[in-house]
Symmetry: C2
């Protein structure tokens, strides 16, 4: 890490640092061995945890501390959105080297607070400890009425698979941050949007509100997952959990046309399916509901295929646009998707 | 780390490891983007987070993976006990090197499960990621009726300060693990008890049940904190939060007489006050309640002093037993306690 001057975590000490960070927390909740939170009557608690490690999930080369904070909060809120839940708050466990500037930690918290201010929830607790590597573990809490939960296992054959926005943009943004010269031919607007997709992803809590409005009685369960580990991964998990398969249409993948222009169709499709960290929602919906959601969310929301009773998960190419030789297509124009091409931590 | 053979985390891959760890979780709760938990009507949610880092909080030299798991769970359950709460479950975020044996991770989970089996709660979710250093972040969830919460800020002058058991034993156990030859003169029973205090601390959820039985109507708030960061730290925090001070009696510190015999009174007092990780509860109670609790819990529960309106926190020595010269006693036989002698992470 290279940083501007100013006091380090070691200079300030644990109690001093805690006092600074308490400013980002509601004063009536922190300062005890644990936080006490009220849930409205009839609501269930929704809990999710994500860990981020310096050098694995972020680096100073591509991500300012405020962006690390935003992304960490957004990744957790995205998991809440994937369950249909409303954010309540989060806890933050942070390991830091003594040499870490206090300003780095404060900017991290500012980024988290900015995301929470926009999407809901507060920092309600945490822990600090020493390590030679920065790591950040967030647990997010949300609330939901028990009959309104989105699970992965409730998809049924013949439903439409919807992705709530373009995929591959976070991967494109990372590319631009690692090799800025590659973006010379892009418009400022695309360059900025893709970098923003990487640095400040949006948890799709707005989609939850739309889905509730479309089906206020929740007569039919909604199967959902977020695409934090890639679009293909989300479709595969939804299908595996539900005991269904899927056929996706290669021509209806949620691709930004400018991305196709920039890196070519082949790479754009790969980033779309396997790039990860787009934090969109992937949903299995009856066709009418899928159409209505598409209408509300706009053209970047794609109905990319449908679920099948055959458990295979395949990508279908039109005869005029076959997959490139680098893919091993079986069954002619159908390509099996697999977990193996996505990011695995180990 | 040195470990026996067997597959590593890298051999198994993230999905393979996840599948193994799912065995330790209730199958109806894990496997989605988040867990959904029901709270009984009228109960509040209690949330606490602790992070443990290899080389800082534990090492293979002194702690087997099952003990790391037990201690991590126990530390979090202890925070719930300090709030008066009943455990619901916990989430586990784990960073691991690829070279880490799968057996290490499974033993970690077995240790957590053993602690939860005994004291309540289940593993309800988590996250896995890669790092060159093992770290473990646990968020524990508990439940409590809103009028039964123990806070730190409700102590009043003239209450009795109670510690629910001996202090300094975890520090003694660590000493025995680091330098076994020092324990040659000890009985097996003391040696084992102190090592167990370090490896398998007990979260004092039993004390919560006793306090509820003693005061079923919760007419008077109970001020409480756990002594994970040391007995002195707990008294100082309780006093600071409540705007009171305290006088502790040096002759009534919760000291194991065998520990005094082993390391001398001076060191035993220091470990008792500043050793940390004893995970007892420190309570401020009206005298009658303190007496009744002492009666229920037995002689290791000490009434070690009382709260005062004067905000100083002092240790009082009898004239026949003054503090050693290494302490800077002011006001004759009164010694100011301070946060600075305890463990700070930075």
């Amino acid at each position: 890490m290279t940083h501007a001057c100013g006091p380090t975590v070691g200079d300030l000490g644990e109690l001093g640092l805690l006092q600074r960070l308490f400013r980002y927390c509601p004063s009536d909740v922190v300062g005890d061995d644990a936080a006490v939170i009220a849930l409205p009557p009839g609501q269930r608690l929704v809990v999710t945890t994500d860990m981020l490690v310096d050098g694995v999930h972020f680096s100073d080369r591509t991500t300012a501390p405020a962006d690390v904070g935003w992304r960490a909060a957004a990744a957790n809120l995205s998991d809440l959105a994937a369950m249909g839940a409303t954010p309540l708050g989060l806890t933050v466990a942070l390991s830091l080297p003594q040499s870490c500037p206090v300003a780095w930690v404060e900017q991290l918290y500012q980024g988290m607070a900015a995301c929470l201010d926009q999407w809901g929830g507060q920092v309600i607790g945490g822990d600090l400890c020493r390590s030679d590597r920065i790591s950040l573990s967030i647990t997010a809490l949300g609330q939901i009425a028990p009959n309104q939960v989105f699970y992965r296992h409730t998809a049924q054959p013949g439903q439409v698979i919807v992705a709530t926005g373009f995929h591959g943009l976070s991967r494109a943004g990372l590319e631009l941050l690692l090799a800025p010269e590659r973006g010379a031919g892009l418009t400022d607007s695309h360059r900025q949007r893709w970098i923003q997709a990487h640095r400040r992803p949006i948890p799709r809590l707005d989609v939850v509100a739309h889905l509730r409005a479309l089906q206020p009685d929740f007569a039919q369960p909604i199967a959902a997952m977020d695409s934090s580990d890639g679009l293909a991964n989300a479709v595969l998990h939804l299908c595996q959990s539900s005991g269904v398969g899927a056929v996706l249409d290669a021509d209806r993948l949620p691709l930004d046309p400018a991305l196709v222009d920039w890196v070519g169709l082949e790479t754009a499709r790969h980033w779309c399916l396997y790039g990860g960290e787009d934090f969109e929602l992937v949903l299995c919906l009856p066709e009418a509901q899928a159409q209505a959601l598409h209408h509300r969310l706009g053209p970047e929301t794609m109905m990319l295929g449908y679920t099948t009773s055959d458990p295979a998960v395949r990508l279908h190419f039109s005869p005029t646009d076959p997959p490139a030789a680098s893919y091993t297509a079986d069954a002619g124009s159908l390509l099996d998707l697999s977990f193996n091409q996505g990011f695995q931590h180990f």
